[in-house]
Amino acid sequence: MKILVCIKQVPDMESRFKPDSAGVWFSETDLAFRMNEYDEYAVEQAVRLKEQLGGEPELTVLSIGPDRVVEAMKKALAMGCDRGVQVQDPAVQLKDPWQVASVIAEFAGREKFDLIFTGLQSQDRGSAQVGVNVAEILNYACTTTVVGFEYADGVVTVKRELEGGIKGVVQLRTPALVTCQLGLNVPRYPTLPNIMKAKKKEILVIPVAELLHQEPRAVTASFYPPAKKGGGIVLEGDVGAQVEQLLGILREKTTVLR
């Protein structure tokens, strides 16, 4: 059995974001990068499936981007993936979700994976399109927003998270692709021995030009902070003073304090 898990490296969302010089995405200056949170659940689920099947499946982790994405891949390798594939692309932020999906599908089509895991969406772009489009191109069965996952004999049974806390239970046969929602599992922390082991694992580098044969279908025209709605009071400075100020405001504006 062959399993692929697709991950993205994104900035820490606590960061302050500023537009880049072209004004179409964020400037990377002063940003720290990490694995997209949704993808950590995808990696964990893929590793658990490999463990469930006695370690037999070969588990590949793929990421597209500049050389810094290798750091995120090393984490996935330390969590239990067997080998990495970096699709080297210094300008991945200029590709639209369709192009990104086409690149993954071009690679995955050659390798004939039985099962592909992705995150539901990225934290920075949040299109929630890439996984579904990969499945559409490969003609794989696909379901999204997975919060429960079981596998037996080529049949995947998942719980999809719907609105209002309701879940939909659906079944699909491999080859299949699932997109993972937060809370699907508890992603493991890599142990030191596994981090050391991961350093010896193979990472194949493929230039994006070898895999990209699609034009963008949508383009980002500009990137900017949201318009401030205003009206809200901002309390800054000394904690003691903030406490007094907030108490005064709550006494004046609400009826919940006696």
Binding site: A128, C142, R217, A221, P226, V239, L246
Partner: protein
């Protein structure tokens, strides 16, 4: 300009949120038609054309069959835009329609702006304007971003059919978990988010809730992390609340959380990140370390 609106039914009911699609179409100034997989007794209040596939035959959401049904309506209507809400239904089906039509799909639109559509980026801390390259596009709209608009009237119905194998089998729904606490009745809710740092800090937030005579709420990450039980979760997958006072402690303000609490009477957010999206809905934003501010505030209340 014409927009084909993809309405949503779940468990045999037409979802009221689908009327936001008409609100969006009105802002675009687009003519409309709707496509729906639902029961005949659940038609929208709308005098236009509705392509209806019967739920009795097509069942609940099934990506392969629903894709064919929507594409059949697209073939007859030839719209400029095919529009969904950005829900577990919309984000699952919209990319498939975009792929089949070989056109752009644009996700989670919050506004129609000059030069394109505005979308959130970076966990809603930023925005971007995106435009499709071709004349036709498949769009999803962020829930609540556009006003509910009920056009009124009775639809002209066109039955819709599709055949073919389905790669995904729907087995059934699993109901929401029992609510541990009925947050809807609380006058004050004090909620903990990831910004509290660790599970050991939950009692500090619970102590403030108690001092305020309120209930403890939680954002998704602290529930997923097992710090607080799911019964306390506020947001689209938890409870929707509107207390007199909502205090968000270390919650950045993901859209799913905001949707669950933004109708609260008065909102206080305590966050060290001045740019956190929670600031957009807060009446008061206290820029501070939650674990410094909250104990000090609770102590002051006790005096």
């Amino acid at each position: 300009m014409k927009a084909l609106l993809v309405g949503e039914c779940k468990d045999g009911k037409f979802l009221e949120s689908s009327y936001e699609l008409f609100g969006f179409a009105a802002q675009l100034g687009a003519e409309t038609a709707m496509v729906l997989v639902g029961p005949e007794g659940e038609l929208p209040l709308y005098g236009g054309v509705v392509y209806l596939a019967d739920t009795g035959k097509y069942g609940e959401y099934n990506p392969d069959l629903h894709k064919k049904l929507v594409l059949a309506a697209v073939a007859r209507e030839k719209p400029d835009y095919v529009v969904f809400l950005h829900t577990s239904f919309g984000w699952d089906l919209a990319p498939r329609i975009g792929a089949a039509l070989k056109v752009a799909q644009i996700s989670e639109i919050v506004a129609v702006v000059e030069g394109g559509f505005e979308l959130p980026a970076c966990n809603a801390k930023m925005r971007r304007t995106v435009r499709p390259q071709g004349a036709i596009a498949v769009l999803t709209l962020q829930g609540g971003a556009f006003p509910v608009l009920k056009p009124g009237g009775s639809p002209q119905m066109h039955p819709l059919d599709a055949e073919g194998a389905a790669g995904v089998t729907f087995l059934g729904y699993e109901p929401a978990e029992e609510k541990g606490v009925d947050l809807a009745k609380a006058e004050v809710i004090v909620s903990a988010g990831r910004g509290i740092g660790k599970m050991d800090n939950v009692p500090v937030i619970a102590a403030l809730a108690k001092a305020m005579g309120g209930e403890l709420g939680a954002s998704r990450p602290v529930v997923d992390g097992g710090w607080i039980a799911h019964g306390h979760q506020v947001g689209t997958t938890g409870q929707t609340v509107s207390p007199k006072l909502y205090i968000a402690c270390g919650i950045s303000g993901a859209i799913q959380h905001l949707a669950g609490m933004k109708k609260s009477g008065f909102i206080v957010a305590i966050n060290k990140d001045k740019d956190a999206p929670i600031g957009e809905v807060a009446d008061v934003l206290v820029v501070a370390d939650v674990m410094q501010f909250v104990p000090a505030f609770t102590a002051k209340l006790a005096q």
